[in-house]
Symmetry: C2
Subunit: 340 residues, 2 copies
Amino acid sequence: MPELDTRKREILRIIIDDYVLTAEPIGSEAVSARHRLGVSPATVRNEMAGLEELGYLRQPHTSAGRVPTEQAYRVYVDSMLGEEHLPSWERARIRRTLFGVQPERTVEQAAHALASVTNFAAVAASVTTGETRIRHLQLVPLTPRRVLVVAVTDEGVFEGTTAEFATPIQPDDLDRLSHEISRRIGGMLLHDLTPRTLDAVIGDAARHQRVVDEVARLLREHLTQTPGPVYSEGKANILKQPEFQDVRRAQPVLSALEQRDVVVELLRPGSEEDRVRITIGRENKREEMKECSVITATYFVGDRPAGVVGIVGPTRMQYGKVISLLSFLADSLAEAIGQP
Amino acid sequence: MPELDTRKREILRIIIDDYVLTAEPIGSEAVSARHRLGVSPATVRNEMAGLEELGYLRQPHTSAGRVPTEQAYRVYVDSMLGEEHLPSWERARIRRTLFGVQPERTVEQAAHALASVTNFAAVAASVTTGETRIRHLQLVPLTPRRVLVVAVTDEGVFEGTTAEFATPIQPDDLDRLSHEISRRIGGMLLHDLTPRTLDAVIGDAARHQRVVDEVARLLREHLTQTPGPVYSEGKANILKQPEFQDVRRAQPVLSALEQRDVVVELLRPGSEEDRVRITIGRENKREEMKECSVITATYFVGDRPAGVVGIVGPTRMQYGKVISLLSFLADSLAEAIGQP
DNA sequence: GGCTAGCACTCTACGTCCTCGAGTGCTAAA
DNA sequence: TTTAGCACTCGAGGACGTAGAGTGCTAGCC
């Protein structure tokens, strides 16, 4: 951004910092007063006019102060972000939440803590990648023809789903079948569970060919396609934000966040270089989200993404703070999940 | 209610019916015009003054029409409700939603359909009573010391939770233990699973005394205390209602509905004579719910409550319609759940 | 050339005032 | 007991004026 000299950047930064806190347009007087810039309001005004020209600021109306545009937030997060120190009580609180709890509730708790610390909506999900390794499979009889399929992966996650068979099956047979399949696919990678390999591996495991087919189908579908559980917490927090005091603005956002696939979309995992992902306003694909910013952090176990946590709030947010918070949370989660 | 003569009742009914649709105060003119009562606005005015005196109506301000009070809705649902006919396309839609779907998703789907048909928030939960019978228990190894406990009950529901053991346990041992416990407690009623009986029944099942203790503890806690999963759908619908256009009114309600225990509280099952339960405004225990009405319907499998579905909306709602809808939904659910 | 004091200008927020209309309660007559 | 008539009340909404915030421009200063 060569178009922004040092002073312009400094002014822009001050405006963003102030606006994020007050949600009110910022005037030249305020900028010049705060953090003694050494220049008068008049000079600031000139610079602000320039920044507006360049698309970083806009005026709600002629005699109001200025407000940062999405472009401003973008350059802010890309090049004006310092290391933000996270208060130790927040760190402590988060770690307390994650560690003293049943492992299967860790992610949910993370989202919960995140929502209450940030006052935004928090979302979280575990990721199932093709790299996931199956550790154990168990078929549990529900009715003579219906079984619950429980798969344990090396990410400590399990998924329960039910399957229906064409013919009744005896509990003992089911048990044997269960062990047999488990023994054969245990240790396999999820993305190796193609129809072909599955057939080859377990195709002749039992007389119950149709049972096996069914289980194979379920494994493929449920372990490779369906993402794990998705949590969202504190959606109502969005109503606390000044920009969503108008219900007609808030309603579409809340409706969208109630749809699982929307949240899943938001939570697409990043790569290791790209752990924290920031999407500002119209950068969101979803029309409903165009007045929101979404920040997500992916956490890794070993070198594989294990899950994603994030927040959804108005574009006006304390990016620095939220980013370090999410970053810390992701690290803590990796630790909590990684040592089951 | 001897204090209400026929004409007062009729007028009250008209006002409620109109108000529910328009959300605007109803004047004497409108009442007299609609459904030709045979009396002039002046007469209606006198009656309305009487109804206000008795606490059934109130005026937002001097020169506005009248609005029903909670007391009015109460007498309306208690004694003025006719049989409401449910359009057959709605019936069809609901049944289609419930039947063609994986059994474990039935209840969730029910809530979803309910929310989209009524435009209110829908809540649902399965009920676990002491009367539930355990059918099967399975311990699935997660790590050497951690197991997943899966319990299958005769309600077709299963609950997954994890337990940690003091000492590592071999998969084969675990399997034997699992079968042994399952064999011994299979068929028992949940409320017979007291510490004493559990000890007696499975106490000597294995050398792994601490394992057994742990499993017993989990069974007691998780099957008798924790209610099953709780679903809520379409909470954002509340923002569509005119009475919640003010965010400060809507926020507390939405926040409350995000708390699991609040929803659980709303969904306490009714008895068989009392399947549909209507709670109007301040009748709700929760302060946050005092501007809402909650209608729930309990569905039964055999003679035991199996679950509860309900809606949360403003006190101004089409009680007749919602009640017959819920009633039908509960019947359909009973049918869908009862024949697994 | 860059900075700034001064100033006229613009626009919103807000309070006041007014009118209109809806709906009421009361009274007197049918 | 009902109803027509009427005076009354009150909120919604528009017109108007003012105060204040913030701007852009210009002329002078370093």
